[in-house]
């Protein structure tokens, strides 16, 4: 918001911010001499999407929490702030980012940033129950391809003034501009959590999950792999206890459960370790996003099912066309999540009108295509 008279906000403050000023200058210069820029936060997701091109534009100078009001359920944070730093500040007040973005943190580094989290738009185990990244974006400040600093949305839950540009940035892979600051909705950490396990085949697990989802139960996350369904309940203690009594299954030790969900969230658990090895050996890790009720996909490879059935990870050497066809037949799409060979294209092709709108939108925000060119779809 930049009416010019908004308290303690925008133009005056931000223009005076040396880190932002430096970025503006770099974008101006890049635009003037036709340089392409590769927006960089923590550098933890360079493997995701199409290959980065251009000169790195380091945004980690935009660091720090600008405002955090626990009773407003809103935090405003600069994009280069490490995700770990934001999550620690929220945890101190008993709050969290409910969509559990993967952190990809390495031991020797600060890990991913808030800007990278929004740009990649990836969410963790609780996604189906609580919503994804874009559902929690309330506002954003963007440095566009004309080197203009613009703010959209705001710091309030209900806001229908103008187009919702802030939410469009979630998953945009930096192709619309540099995310400088975001306001996010946050929620209290659930009072109670219990994890259950069931030994069932995939088809039965899908049937159980979809049936339970239609009932007033505090389901929060699920994962099926190798004949085991793991289910997390979260909410009021009374509701969780009642659900445990009703659903049966075996209660998983709390510490073990935490470690399991963290590993799944950060993609460091056994399945993903196996996937990394398979990828090194020439296979691919696919992320299939399908309707929750889709039947088990007939792909004879290693599968991990999350999000109540809506996200299915596949380690496979099958041709890309076959994987994409299976996802499309189920009503969804497949992303070539990790692979040494990205020639089939990372993201599933768009329909003609959507491809045209997307291209024109990118031009509307970044006329010279300075930022992250080709990161979503390869460009000639």
């Amino acid at each position: 918001m930049t009416g010019g008279e908004v308290e303690g906000e925008v133009d005056g403050t931000k223009a005076a911010d040396p880190a932002l000023q430096a970025l503006i200058e770099q974008v101006r210069a890049a635009r003037a001499d036709g340089t392409q820029l590769d927006i960089r936060g923590g550098g933890t997701k360079a493997w995701y999407g199409e290959a980065p091109q251009g000169v790195p534009l380091d945004v980690t100078g935009l660091r720090g929490i600008s405002s955090y009001e626990p009773t407003e359920l809103v935090v405003t944070v600069r994009a280069g702030t490490p995700l770990a730093e934001l999550e620690a500040a929220l945890a101190e007040k008993g709050q969290c980012l409910p969509f559990e973005p993967p952190r990809f943190a390495r031991n020797d580094a600060v890990g991913g940033t808030v800007g990278g989290m929004v740009a990649a738009g990836l969410a963790g185990p609780a996604r189906a129950a609580v919503g994804g990244v874009r559902d929690y974006v309330l506002g954003a400040t963007l440095l566009n391809g004309r080197a203009e600093v613009l703010s959209f949305g705001g710091q309030v839950m209900k806001n229908v003034a103008g187009y919702d540009v802030a939410r469009l940035l979630a998953g945009s892979m930096g192709t619309l501009g540099v995310i400088c600051e975001v306001s996010l909705k946050v929620l209290p950490v659930p009072v109670a959590r219990t994890t259950l396990r069931f030994d069932v085949a995939q088809a039965d697990a899908l049937r159980m999950l979809n049936t339970w989802c239609g009932q007033p139960l505090p389901l929060n996350a699920s994962a099926w792999w190798h004949g085991v369904l793991v289910l997390r309940l979260a909410g009021a203690a009374a509701a969780v206890d009642a659900a445990v009594a009703r659903l049966g299954g075996e209660v998983v030790d709390a510490a073990m459960a935490d470690s399991f969900w963290t590993g799944l969230r950060d993609q460091t658990d056994e399945f993903f370790i196996g996937a990394a090895q398979a990828v090194d050996g020439g296979a691919a890790l696919w992320r299939m996003s399908v309707p929750q009720v889709a039947a088990p996909l007939v792909l004879a490879d290693e599968q991990l099912v999350e999000w109540g059935g809506a996200q299915r990870w596949l380690i496979s050497s099958a041709p890309a066309d076959q994987v994409r066809a299976a996802a499309a037949a189920a009503g969804g799409h497949a992303t070539l999540y990790r692979s040494l060979d990205k020639s089939p294209g990372v993201f599933a092709p768009l329909s003609a009108p959507l491809a045209r709108i997307q291209r024109d939108l990118q031009t509307a925000f970044d006329p010279d295509r300075v930022f992250n060119r080709g990161r979503l779809y390869p460009e000639r």
């Binding site: 919702d164 469009l168 509701a239 996003s289 024109d360």
Partner: protein, 497 residues
């Protein structure tokens, strides 16, 4: 101005003949209206102060006809204004003087309610409440509940990103819609979102939802259905000071509780509604909070207990918990009838819709009290306190031009004060034509230009609902000199907000 009007110089009647000739071959004769007496009912939406007869009204019955109408209009460069039930409060469906109003009233079928996948696929003209009614036998419902839900349609909800009294816990329209099917301005079929939880490429769904008919024409929507809570109970709490009530709202959230509903009424509003519904409200209270919990019986018992502790700690002077569903609905009846009740104590009223950070609640109330003195008009206040969305109702008599004028200044003052307090000019009613000037205050020129560029990516010729939502530079420059009249609500008996 906002709309390119290549035909502006053409004679209106000639233009009308041209459009009728182009549309007659693609829709049945009864679906095409252009005689003045037939198009009069379409001259305004819920914001009746703005009226404009369209050149032509077309009521297609199939998607094929929608596509053909759009193609024909695009070829002639005719502005197209899509229209649902016409209950919108910001003039979003106000016709264009040289345009076609595309009524989607015939798209009123529920195509599929699927209990297993918890989704409903419906045509855009299906009423919001009809979806929940169709889902009820499965123990499911559609969560967003704008108070006009018996009349407003899902297509209109998508256009406005409608809220309701339960969105703090259950989200807005955007959070409850999976897929929007529609047509581009060129008449090409397009789908945003899908039955999966995400789609490849840029996520256009959040831009299309809430775009007020400026980017595409919606014909079909797939919504999420959620299990109906087994039980809901509501606490009615009184406070002797409005600031204490505001602090109580913050205290509930700080305690880690997300109530199913959290609403506030001030003393003048409480008096007005008590007289109307006789719900037993505390007439001595400076503010009344309605705080609702829903879920399993165990969950509700636990949460109500915690809420009572927090509210007592925050200085509630009186608290009552609904004993049964009848009493719960009675607690809500006053809140839901704030509009008709206001209609009984004043000849006219104007409803505002800004949002502020919750912590500024007392500040805006004090500012509004000051404005009452300044503009010599009374104002009663209801709030979606949980999410900071306020609906001040300015009471006036439209037959007195000076009162109307003061009311308009009062309203603009509230919106601009809300922006200064870190909020927004519209929380759920949309910009339409009503709040175009206020958009000049909220957004800088570069931001408005970026929004125009976004629209052009969907609609290069600027033919879909032109002139709404984003004010031109020229208009913002003129703001301050211009006189903008505000609207009165039709259907005053309808529950709203």
């Amino acid at each position: 101005m906002n709309a390119p009007l290549p035909a502006a110089a053409l004679d209106r009647a000639a233009r009308q003949r041209e459009i009728v000739a182009a549309l007659a071959p693609v829709v049945p004769a009864h679906a095409l209206l252009w005689q003045a007496e037939d198009t009069v009912p379409y001259e305004c939406d819920g914001l009746t102060a703005y009226r404009q007869q369209p050149l032509v009204v077309v009521l297609p019955e199939t998607e094929g006809q929608v596509a053909a109408v759009l193609k024909a209009c695009h070829a002639l460069k005719v502005p197209v204004v899509a229209r649902g039930a016409g209950t919108g409060l910001s003039g979003g469906a106000l016709p264009h003087a040289l345009g076609v109003t595309l009524s989607l009233a015939k798209f009123n079928k529920i195509l599929k309610v699927d209990a297993y996948s918890r989704t409903a696929t419906v045509q855009c003209g299906v009423r919001n409440l009809a979806i929940s009614e169709a889902a009820a036998p499965h123990g499911l419902y559609y969560a967003p509940d704008p108070s006009s839900q018996i009349a407003c349609t899902i297509g209109g909800n998508v256009a406005e990103n409608s809220g309701g009294v339960h969105c703090l816990k259950y989200g807005l329209t955007l959070h409850n819609v999976l897929r929007v099917r529609g047509f581009t301005v060129e008449g090409e079929a397009v789908e945003f979102g899908s039955l999966a939880l995400d789609t490849p490429g840029l996520d256009l769904l959040p831009v299309v939802v809430g775009s007020e008919g400026m980017l595409a024409v919606t014909t079909e929507v797939t919504v999420k259905l959620v299990p109906k809570p087994q039980l809901a109970r509501c606490i009615m709490a009184s406070f002797d000071d409005i600031r204490k009530a505001g602090d109580a709202v913050a205290a509930v959230i700080a305690a880690g509780i997300i109530p199913a509903g959290l609403e506030m009424m001030d003393k003048p509003m409480t008096a007005a509604v008590e007289d109307f519904v006789h719900a037993g409200y505390d007439l001595e209270a400076q503010a009344i909070l309605l705080c609702e919990s829903d879920g399993t019986p165990e969950e509700v018992a636990e949460e109500i207990g915690r809420m009572l502790d927090v509210l007592a700690g925050a200085g509630a002077t009186r608290m009552e918990v609904s004993k049964d569903e009848a009493q719960r609905l009675k607690f809500w009846s006053g809140r839901k009838n704030a509009f008709p009740a206001s209609g009984r104590i004043s000849p006219d009223y104007m409803c505002m819709d800004s949002t502020i950070p919750r912590k500024r609640l007392a500040d805006i109330l004090l500012a509004i009290a000051e404005m009452e003195r300044k503009y010599q008009l009374r104002c009663a206040n209801v709030f979606h306190a949980g999410d900071g969305n306020l609906h001040p109702l300015i009471l006036f008599d439209a037959n007195d031009p000076d009162q109307l004028h003061r009311c308009e200044l009062f309203g603009a003052d509230i919106l601009e004060t809300s922006v200064r307090l870190g909020g927004t000019v519209t929380g759920e009613h949309g910009v339409g034509v009503e709040k175009l000037n206020s958009m000049c205050v909220q957004f800088a020129p570069g931001e408005r230009e970026q929004m125009f560029a976004l629209k052009a990516a969907f609609d290069p010729a600027g033919l879909l609902n032109p002139g709404k939502v984003i004010p031109t530079l020229q208009r913002c420059a003129e703001y301050g000199r211009m006189h903008v009249s505000k609207g009165l609500l039709p259907f005053p008996q309808l529950e709203r907000f």
